[in-house]
């Protein structure tokens, strides 16, 4: 069964202080070759029937993302791939 994934990211021109805070913490891990970190949101939607990408796009535009400050992308993902099973971790 397929599931719809919506990725929401702040627009490039919008400051992401949360991402900056993470980037600033990386040197404490000994990581010094990262120039930028930006943080977004991943939302998984399951429809009762067949996945409806147009409807998902509408949901994303009206509620999941704020188009004033955020971009979003909608795509289908095979649930086998995104299932949070231990096998995937390995």
């Amino acid at each position: 069964m397929a599931r719809v994934v919506v990725d929401v990211m702040l627009k490039p021109e919008i400051l992401d202080p949360q991402g900056q805070a993470v980037a600033n913490a990386l040197p404490r891990l000994g990581v010094t070759d990262v120039s930028s970190v930006r943080i977004g949101r991943r939302i998984e939607i399951e429809f009762a029937g067949e996945p409806d990408l147009d409807r998902a796009h509408e949901i994303a535009d009206k509620l999941l993302a704020n188009p004033v400050i955020e971009d979003f992308a909608v795509h289908l993902v095979d649930s086998q791939v995104v299932d949070d099973t231990p096998a995937e971790v390995g």
């Binding site: 021109e13 919008i14 400051l15 202080p17 949360q18 805070a21 509620l63 999941l64 704020n66 004033v68 400050i69």
Partner: protein, 235 residues
């Protein structure tokens, strides 16, 4: 004058907003987020707090409450609406005001008494102030950084729609020190700091907040800024 104050799940300052309306001489009407009936109010205050736990984005879910659907319609018809803090966030999410409120640039919650300069006195909510007047009211937010694209910011400035700016320090990184804005008609105002917390000497840093609530009573009594907009009930 009947001023509605909406309570959402997670509203925090609805009690203080209702009290500020009463102290200013208005009649408070408590409205419930789940009820589309605005009970004949002449104006509405959207209070501060954390509606729906700030889930998704601040104000994003409250914007779809049944009460908000009625308020969006009424605001389009000229009914005055004041959004304070979370209320400002809800007004932006509802597209009644442009731009968005984002995480404070320094990532810290800020809670302090804040000086503002009033820069528009042609709104339903600020007509009792003098242009350029400096006022002191509390600010308390984690996501109060006002952002919009440059074109929107330029338009707000050109049209005199920046209602108040932070002075003596910007508490959250808001672009161009913006603390409050209004819509084109001047009936909808969003403000990040809290005028309802500055209406009594016992608890507030000043009485400067009263001006917002006496302004709406004056607007409803027939005042208008050069006929550009009527602040009165036009539902």
């Amino acid at each position: 004058m009947r001023i509605g104050v909406v309570t959402f799940p997670g509203s925090l300052d609805d009690g203080d907003a209702a009290r500020a309306v009463r102290i200013s001489g208005g009649e408070t009407v408590r409205l419930w987020h789940g009820d589309p009936d605005l009970r004949g109010v002449d104006a509405v205050v959207l209070p501060g707090g954390f509606s729906y736990g700030d889930y998704l984005r601040c104000g994003a879910i409250a914007r779809f409450a049944p009460a908000m659907e009625s308020i969006i319609d009424a605001a389009g018809g000229g009914m005055p609406v004041l959004g304070i803090c979370n209320g400002f966030q809800i007004l932006c999410e509802a597209h009644l005001l442009p731009g968005a409120l984002t995480r404070n640039q320094h990532l810290h919650f800020r809670n302090r008494d804040q000086y503002l300069r009033v820069e528009s006195v042609n709104t339903a909510w600020t007509n009792r102030f003098a242009l350029g007047q400096e006022i002191l009211i509390p600010v308390k937010n984690g996501e109060g950084c006002y952002v919009a694209d440059d074109r929107t910011l330029d338009a707000l400035e050109a049209e005199g729609r920046v209602v108040a700016r932070y002075t003596r320090g910007n508490p959250n990184g808001s672009q161009r020190d913006i603390a409050a804005i209004t819509n084109e008609a001047g009936n909808v105002v969003g403000i990040m700091p809290h005028p309802e917390h500055a209406v009594e000497t016992l608890t507030g840093p000043s009485l400067d907040g009263l001006g917002f609530f006496t302004s709406i009573l004056r607007a409803l009594a027939g005042w208008s800024a050069g006929g550009q907009h009527a602040g009165g009930p036009q539902r």
